[in-house]
Point group: C5
Chain length 95, copies 5
Amino acid sequence: MNMGKVVGSVVATRKESSLDGLRFMLVRHVDHEGKESGGSVVAVDAVGAGPGELVLVATGSSARQTLATDKRPCDAVIMAIVDSWDVDGKEKYKK
Amino acid sequence: MNMGKVVGSVVATRKESSLDGLRFMLVRHVDHEGKESGGSVVAVDAVGAGPGELVLVATGSSARQTLATDKRPCDAVIMAIVDSWDVDGKEKYKK
Amino acid sequence: MNMGKVVGSVVATRKESSLDGLRFMLVRHVDHEGKESGGSVVAVDAVGAGPGELVLVATGSSARQTLATDKRPCDAVIMAIVDSWDVDGKEKYKK
Amino acid sequence: MNMGKVVGSVVATRKESSLDGLRFMLVRHVDHEGKESGGSVVAVDAVGAGPGELVLVATGSSARQTLATDKRPCDAVIMAIVDSWDVDGKEKYKK
Amino acid sequence: MNMGKVVGSVVATRKESSLDGLRFMLVRHVDHEGKESGGSVVAVDAVGAGPGELVLVATGSSARQTLATDKRPCDAVIMAIVDSWDVDGKEKYKK
């Protein structure tokens, strides 16, 4: 999984019908030091993540292993909201 | 998913027969600020996207989870047309 | 899918037996302007592509969705031969 | 698989329920010379890896082929702990 | 698939039990000109490849389509040993 920060959302009315009701969030990658890196991804939200929260994003076929995304054309899903993480024994982030 | 802009199309008469009737679109990646980045991908259109439209592209096995692409050798699909998106509470694009 | 140009082939006598009879082609990536970029991939040929032809390559599990590659350890397949493509309404390539 | 070094862990209370009880580890990529490269990934631990250990990480759908991760939205798993490796006949690392 | 050169091996005693008996090889990427590029991958050997040999590596779910790797947490497999390859009609490598 990659860590990321929810920075926005995408509205798409016209879409494959199996995607109706899902929320598309814009997530910027965050490295292990907590810095936003250049990349971003649009991920379906499976856990009720909100703007500014740090999250974990699973990609590929694993993105379909949630109740929200099963059998849908979705290749990225927010499957966890990060409370904290540490590197080399030091807390780098706490919500 | 990645955001992208439909910039063209690809014609391929000779192909795996399961792909007959599908439309191959050329999609340039667009970042969260709306800038076209260097990369592009050829994606099957599952939602009737046209030239110039901003779309979402799903890749990998998730690209086969549409009626159009099921069980076909297709690793990228346009599964939504973007109406708008926002970053940090500001609208970055509106169709 | 990515566009590419068939530039050569790879011979491998000793291989997983399910791959017997398949042709491994060396394909260089071609961008939407028609320029060969640095990267290349070895792809199984499912459509009878020859040297110099522009093709589409599907990767990942989608590379196994052809008669030639089903259930085989193959992560890249040539599934179409490109006749032409256009960008912004201008024809960039015609065979 | 990629080699990596376990440098930390991520706590996430709110997550897809199928992930309850799994440990998310922060793993930095290590190249074949043993140098930490820039990238990192969050991987589920399937083998009891601890901080500082060198491990192998499998990604994509293969990350779900362990008892711990089966059918879960997990795209990276620690599936082995590295004892040693060699390059060109020279031992590069020994635990 | 990517071409690569077997440069070493990795020993891992503690691992997911389904991986017992498999050999983990360190493979450096080789481009179509035969040059070793920077990257490397750890791949399970399905064909009896030895040090110094040029091989093909399949990744992702396709890496599990061999007798050795079926249903195992393995995302890269050596599925062929390269005898020769040519580019633009010129032989670039012969074993």
